[in-house]
């Protein structure tokens, strides 16, 4: 099958959806630049022009409200935050209005099908306010769908799904994934919202991962396979709604659980999955759950500190070894090298 990058997959989904559905438009800072949000909006801009793909002032709060108001009368706005960290400024519109719209007007004001794309950073000294990952607070409040595609395939399929969904959807795209290549069907398709995927079957231990941490988990699994340790890796893909079944089924099989996410632990996705295990998977658990998330401090800038700040494949692999009471010969050389070249 044909191979596309994650960025190309998002671009293709956008273009295909816009072709079928004239109500879709894309708005936000830089969406009509030649660089077009890592190239994800460039093609849409070329095809549909400024009428449907347009730059806006920096106005995160109003942009979200504008999207809601346009959606309320039949549009399907896609708004883009070049950094999801800027989205805090839009939390009122997102959580107090978009998330509650359908429910609090008793369904009588219809739905507000907006798609909010927002980019998650990591590393290269992006620092404390350009590298956060907001899935946990967004998923905490009923009403928002929160997606984190990892593969190019899912980036396209979930974008298509979001653009057909009847409520507000936030898609968090990890910056380190934009260049990732993978097989992507040409025709339009949908990855169902609310479905996790077993991206690598295994028997000894389940790793539930989100976004870029799935890449790290797969790398850890590859490595441990050399020592005949079999990790099952689940790519969560959808934070809310959560695919409890897939997780619990895996737990039933392996009895052991590591959860890893791109954000912090406290009241985070890792805790949510661990709680699920403690509540509904308890009788299958053979060992304590292990959460692997960001250390309890803001992201530092210095490369020396970033190196120890971000959990990675080796972190997961080591935790798995401890949980299984095993050792490995080769561990330590499996971590990704960040070969990004500045400037930002």
């Amino acid at each position: 099958m044909r191979t596309l990058s994650y960025a190309e997959a998002i671009s293709e989904a956008t273009v295909q959806a816009m072709e079928c559905d004239p109500s879709i438009f894309v708005a936000g800072i830089a969406v009509d630049y030649p660089s077009g949000i890592f190239g994800t909006t460039t093609e849409a801009y070329k095809r549909f022009g400024k009428a449907r793909v347009f730059d806006t002032p920096a106005m995160e709060n109003a942009l979200t409200g504008i999207a809601i108001g346009a959606a309320a009368v039949g549009k399907r706005p896609v708004i883009v935050h070049p950094r999801n960290d800027f989205m805090f400024l839009a939390f009122d519109q997102l959580i107090n209005l978009a998330a509650k719209w359908k429910y609090m007007y008793g369904g009588r004001a219809g739905t507000v099908p907006i798609v909010v794309r927002a980019v998650v950073g990591r590393g290269w000294g992006q620092g404390a306010t350009h590298s956060q990952s907001l899935q946990a607070p967004l998923a905490h409040f009923p009403g928002l769908t929160v997606l984190m595609p990892t593969s190019p395939h899912d980036a396209k399929g979930l974008m298509m799904a979001a653009l057909q969904h009847d409520g507000p959807v936030v898609i968090l795209e990890h910056r380190s994934l934009f260049g990732l290549k993978g097989e992507v069907p040409e025709e339009p398709y949908v990855v169902p919202i609310g479905s996790a995927e077993v991206v690598r079957p295994g028997t000894d231990l389940t790793v539930v991962a989100t976004s870029f941490m799935t890449v790290e988990a797969l790398r850890a699994a590859d490595e441990l396979a050399k020592d005949d340790i079999s990790l099952e890796v689940i790519d969560l893909r959808s934070i809310r709604p959560l695919d409890e079944e897939t997780i619990l089924a895996s737990l039933k099989k392996t009895g052991r659980l590591i959860v890893t996410d791109t954000s912090w632990e406290m009241c985070g996705v890792v805790s949510e999955i661990a709680a699920l295990a403690a509540e509904k998977g308890f009788h299958d658990l053979k060992a304590p759950v292990r959460r692997i998330a960001l250390p309890n401090c803001p992201a530092p800038v210095s490369q020396a500190l970033e190196d120890v700040f971000y959990p990675k494949a080796s972190t997961i692999a080591k935790a798995a070894l401890v949980m299984l009471g095993r050792t490995s010969s080769s561990l330590g050389e499996i971590d990704l090298v960040d070969d990004f070249k500045g400037p930002y």
Partner: protein, 340 residues
């Protein structure tokens, strides 16, 4: 108070006003009555403790809602804020559904989910009210954007209090509307207070809200918000400009709320001291409903007797409607997750 527009001295075009037709005047007066009587009836029943939802009554501010809504077409779309009943009724929303919403009944406009601050009646061109300051300004701009993108000759309107201009979100929204010349009318009800805070806490001395909007290149006009004809006149022009691609318009309608900020009482009864009685009395003397009635009679459009009959009819009908709403069924508990 050092503000430029404290009491009742209002820059208004009332003198040079072209009055609406007899028919329109009567229609607007009857709408004023509907709005006033609805609010009065709800306020009275509110004290019975059966409407359990924080409520901001709009008594005294009716002319803004009626004047603006009377200038709209059926296809236009209204948004508003927490003090929303006036706009809901003036836009043709059902008194029964409003009352049922306050009673938390299934027949409420929002099925008893929203309460006083979350009303909707899309079919009547009333999208939603919301309880967070400035929230619906951006949504109205978004609706106007959709209209503009589709080349539809529709207008979005947002009602809000002058307190909304304290919030930064407001300026983002109006700036975008101005840049894109969107068909939206911003109808500000400047009632001089936000909860119990006077303008002096919230604006520098000598502030003029219209100037703020003008600095964003939004056409702005201050209007006597207690004169339904003056509001209507300004609104017709505003809507006309917005609809014809001339860009957004800001109307600062000077008015006054008679009751306490939230709840049915009068300040004095509630022992609140932030406004003085003289100020209150001066505004009550400018009662928009009575002014409208007086003008109808003076102009020979209606007789005093007719006006009284309308009032009595309206009152009776609304009281019966509200009582009917009180007897409507509760939402079934197994529908808790409906629309979740």
């Amino acid at each position: 108070m050092s503000q430029s527009h404290s009491g009742t001295e209002i820059v208004s075009r009332s003198n040079s006003l072209v009055l609406p037709s007899a028919e329109k005047s009567i229609e607007m007066h009857r709408s004023l009555l509907r709005v006033r009587m609805t609010e009065e009836t709800l306020a009275t029943r509110y004290t019975e403790q059966e409407m359990r939802t924080p409520t901001h009554f709009g008594t005294g501010q009716e002319a803004v809602a009626v004047g603006v809504c009377s200038a709209l077409d059926a296809g236009d779309m209204v948004y508003t804020h927490h003090r929303s009943h006036n706009h809901f009724i003036a836009r043709g929303g059902s008194v029964y559904e409003l009352a049922a919403e306050l009673y938390g009944r299934i027949d409420g406009c929002s099925l008893g989910r929203g309460g006083s601050v979350h009303l909707t009646d899309r079919d009547k061109g009333f999208m939603v009210s919301s309880a967070i300051l400035a929230e619906t300004v951006a949504t109205a701009v978004g609706t106007a954007l959709a209209y503009a993108m589709d080349g539809e000759a529709k207008v979005a309107v947002c009602f809000f209090g002058e307190g909304t201009l304290d919030e930064g979100a407001f300026y983002e929204a109006i700036n975008f509307a101005s840049i894109r010349k969107l068909p939206v009318v911003f109808a500000c009800e400047n009632n001089l207070y936000a909860t119990e805070s006077p303008l002096s806490v919230r604006q520098a001395p000598g502030s003029d809200l219209c100037d703020r909007l003008r600095a964003f290149k939004v056409t702005s006009e201050r209007v006597d918000g207690n004169d339904v004809a003056a509001v209507y006149d300004a609104a017709v022009r505003a809507v006309q400009q917005a609809r014809s691609g001339g860009g957004p318009v800001f109307l600062e309608c000077m008015t006054y709320r008679w009751r306490e900020h939230v709840g049915p009482m009068f300040d004095h009864d509630a022992k609140r001291s932030y406004r003085d009685k003289a100020e209150f009395d001066a505004w009550v003397a400018r009662d928009p409903v009575r002014r409208s009635a007086t003008r109808l009679i003076e102009q020979g459009v209606a007789t005093a007797a007719e006006v009284e009959v309308w009032a009595a009819e309206t009152k009776a009908e609304i009281e019966a409607t509200v009582e009917r709403a009180r007897q409507a069924p509760w939402p079934a508990v197994d529908t808790l997750f409906e629309n979740a």
